[in-house]
Amino acid sequence: MTKRIAMAQLTSCWGCDQSLLDLHLGLLELLPELEIVYWPAVVDFKLKDLESMPDESIHIGLVEGSCRTEDDVRLLNIMRAKSKILVAWGVCSCYGGIHGLANQWDLDELVDRKFMKADTVTDPRLPSENVPPFVSNVQPNVDVVDFNIMLPGCPPTSKNTIEALSAILSGKPFDLPEKSVCDQCPKVKQDKHITKFHRTHEGRIDPNKCLLDQGYLCLGFATIGFCGAICPTVNSPCKGCFGPVLRVKDHGAKIISALGAIAEMTPEELKDSFPDPIGSFYFTDYAASYLSRMRNKARSKRK
């Protein structure tokens, strides 16, 4: 029996779809088992088609992106109502994504900066027609509705998505790995004696040695080992885009904790090494952090 599948895109770059399509001919093995009932990126179904389906009539719902507009919130709730198994597809859906970093500012500051003061704007005005209103802050989707499966990644690799879909299709449980990126990374790890942190473009990287040992901020130690360590393998430090290791609530706090222990630097030197700690330590999961939640609480109290 084919399973009915719906894929919904909230505010996002749609990179998760691209990652799935990267399977190319590999998709042919999976497609006969699926009946696509909603997927705006590829097939022409409208929102009203999705709305007219009975509740829980979709076997698998994949939700990509996070809620930046009120339409996103509406679509997310519809997806929850119509889907039996709802999957948070990609790090935006799981933890808020890169646009969660916007939670550092209030909505009016963001709108002002983007639409009124952007350097390339010559005729500043706020779009008012045919656009949904913004919500005041980005929340992880799991805070808005319940999900059955988390599938983090920016984007989840084609293999990740296939593994999850195959598990659902065959009725097997799907669990995220317990390990970190370092467990998957082939580089040789030694005792850490970090006396200076370098930017990625500085110095020469020894391709056989651990990037963190060489003083590059590689966040594999705090990041869930789900990607296969694709970045460090090719000498690009891990940015933590798959989100924290399982059961870690605050990615950045764990990174700070580890850096404080392994850096052989004075506290002042360490502090000066990271001009933008939130951007460096909470690349894709700031919306799920304690700090962002605190700001949101304070904001909603002010109203």
Partner: protein, 174 residues
């Protein structure tokens, strides 16, 4: 970890004559009348004290009857190096107005360097708080040895004063 901050209970236990303290002295109200412009804000401060220095220092402050504001709840940890920055953020997120971490002086750590690791974490965490738009002074790191009941008292007093000046945690639930 779960932290719950209840309201400070000021009522005397029943059965105790209200005019007498436990030591038999005549009770003098510790709640002096509020000066003009002074608010009712009583900060709730969480303190992580290390077992080997500051917790013993807090004990000494108590046994030597040093007066300090009652706004601080102490959690004993084996070493300040055990204090994960996530604990501090969790406390603030649940409504603590300030978090104080009190450990051994540099060089005195029972585990050699736990306090120095905390210091490194602390400066990074303070910078992160600042970038997130939360007053970095809500968290404070101090050193107080087991013999320094007075330093501990002074640390608590100035911490509470600092938080009173900052006002309540904006994320605090009323």
């Amino acid at each position: 970890m779960l932290l719950r901050f209840g309201r400070i209970r000021t009522a005397m236990p029943t059965g105790v004559p209200k005019s007498l303290t436990a030591a038999g002295h005549k009770a003098t109200s510790t709640q002096r009348p509020k000066a003009k412009g002074e608010t009712d804000f009583e900060p709730r401060v969480l303190a992580f004290c290390c077992n080997w220095c500051s917790y013993a220092g807090a004990d000494l402050a108590g046994t030597s009857r040093r007066q300090m504001p009652p706004n601080v709840r102490i959690i004993r940890v084996n070493c300040t190096g055990r204090v994960d920055p996530a604990f501090i953020l969790d406390a603030l997120s649940q409504g603590a107005d300030g978090v104080l971490i009190s450990g051994c002086h540099p060089g005195d750590c029972h585990y050699t360097s736990g306090n120095l690791k905390m210091k490194s974490r602390f400066v990074l965490l303070q910078k992160t708080l600042e970038e997130a738009g939360i007053e970095p002074d809500r968290i404070h790191l101090q050193w107080a040895s087991a013999a320094e009941g007075d330093v501990f008292t002074e640390g608590i007093t100035s911490m509470v004063e600092r938080i009173k000046a900052l006002g309540p945690n904006p994320a605090r639930k009323d």
